[in-house]
């Protein structure tokens, strides 16, 4: 059995259900280091913003899946993930917490809690619904 750990806006509907270990990317250096490591495809990428530029190289090289802590399908990253057909859940919130992102009200504690909970965890993304996407804790090897 696997359980839903987070939910967010689904950037686009797809039957793809990528699985990978969540990797939080905080700076452009983190992005470049991930590319150099050769392990890009092993990871579901977790980022704070919903803009495009920060993730540009990994989008170009074929990211497996993306989780953002702000933004919407109308954001640039939402548009690009659709064009690249890279599953992407946006403005995710933890299912066992009431804390939700509010535009214009950045709360570091909200972001920190999501990073602490997801970074390094093996997850599976469910992106079939037309509006809500779900993050499942995946069983080892799933």
């Amino acid at each position: 059995m696997s359980s839903i750990i987070a939910e967010g806006y689904n950037a686009f509907e797809t039957e793809k259900a990528p699985t990978g270990v969540v990797k939080y990317l905080e700076t452009p250096s983190d992005v470049l280091a991930l590319i150099r490591s050769g392990t890009l495809k092993d990871h579901i990428l977790l980022v704070r913003g919903g803009t495009t530029t920060f993730l540009a190289p990994v989008l170009s090289m074929g990211a497996t899946g993306i989780l953002t802590m702000s933004g919407a399908p109308e954001s640039h990253l939402g548009i690009l993930s659709r064009e690249f057909q890279t599953p992407c859940l946006m403005t995710i919130g933890l299912t066992d917490s009431d804390s939700r992102y509010e535009a214009g009200n950045p709360d570091d504690a909200h972001f920190d809690a999501i990073v602490q909970r997801l970074d390094g965890k093996r997850v599976r993304l469910d992106c079939e619904d037309d509006s809500v996407g779900r993050v499942y804790l995946a069983e080892h090897g799933a």
């Binding site: 686009f12 797809t14 039957e15 452009p28 495009t52 530029t53 190289p57 702000s70 548009i79 057909q85």
Partner: protein, 475 residues
Amino acid sequence: MTTASKTATYKLRYESDDDGLRFQDLTYEGNFVGLEPVPDGILGDKMMRRRAKTGVLDRVSKDEVLREQFTLDELNDLNNYLAWNIWDVLVMRATEGVSGMIPRQEYEILAFMHEFYRWPEILRMTTDEAGPQGVMDIGATARREIGTKVNCVHDWCIGAAGFGMGRCGLLALEAIQPDDYVEESNDILKFMQRVLWGKRQDGYILNSQDRYRCRVHEQEILDQLLGELEDFEPDEPKHDAFTRFNAAATLLAFLDHFDSRLGLGDTGPYLLPDGRMLIVRDLFTNEEEFHWSDVCDHEDVPHCYTAAVVIDAGAMGLAEIRVNDISTSFTRPKNYVPYITGGAVFVREKWNTPMGEVRPVALDELGAELEKLQQATLKLYGKLARMPRRELITNGHWVYFIDMILPHLRLAGTYEKACRDYDLWEIDQRVSNYYYEITKRKFAHEVVPTKIFSGKGYLPFSEKADLRRSKYRWL
């Protein structure tokens, strides 16, 4: 591929009594406090136009567009409608938060305010040089060209960014009062109206007034594009090659324009005789005025790729498509990519390459173009990652301040004059000083988004406002 309903209902959206779908749950109030909240989409357009005091938001005649200026009521109608339209296209995008790389909220508000101060003089000079009809003719060129930045987003930005959000930011900063710069507001909005009317030529100026359609290309141009069309099935290699190319070019176009929509220009939807629909997508991958585009030069990336994107709306079960006023297409269902069943790609090497020299690229040859795009993207990313914050804000500021009116000045032949005699590539001292203000009291990150995206910051001109008024005192 999704297994959602496959009954296409999008044509219902074009029936006069249809109110369209809702793409979001939020509603808009703006300056209409106490009245029924306004939703997004076709219904929102209807409600906002019903609340107008004048006919400026209906189909207007060429003579009205050529008239020297708007009345005060017309200015207020345009202000209210643009405020809703900005909310309609940007409120969800505005949730995207920090970039992690480019301080976009900072450069955006600085550029908007700069535009409101500086553009009126330059647009007035351009109108003097080209004449009112000449400004309309600039808009009309978009009907006969692909790979032109005289497009929805640039034309819309003249009024929505330079007037709407620029004035909104300055009011929020308390740098101006609602009845300041009335004459300058008229100059900006008249320029916008003339360009957009000349482009559409159906009496409207915005796509939202026409159920989110922007079918401006003349049939001769469409026939040329369709003459190069290659059809494919979704599981064929050509589908993969075309969609990967489209995504990579879109990515570089955003990046070269500092994570902004100025790199992308959709028109359509054009309904094809076989029942499919065409979107014409310009992707501006190398703007020569930006010094950071040198990496695009090094990879031999052209000024613009144009992708003719053909979608099987029936197979998709399309319920609504919006080509919005910032040149971006959104659909319901959202994922149209698996239903792309035809495509063609064209290259315009420079902004002024004649249409007769625009060349097609066969889909089998897109691999080489994709490689160039990926290399330029990687190099540009490395370049941006090394830029200090101040430089990123300055460069983003240039992208907005210059590029939003660059295509119009180029065609009017006034760009060099604006640079030489009007110091276009300078930052006004007032705006330079605002650089230090916008990070205080959360102005850029909280105050501005709240004012711009709630619609509460677009204060109307009062009944006492004078159409001749500029700003005469700073007290």
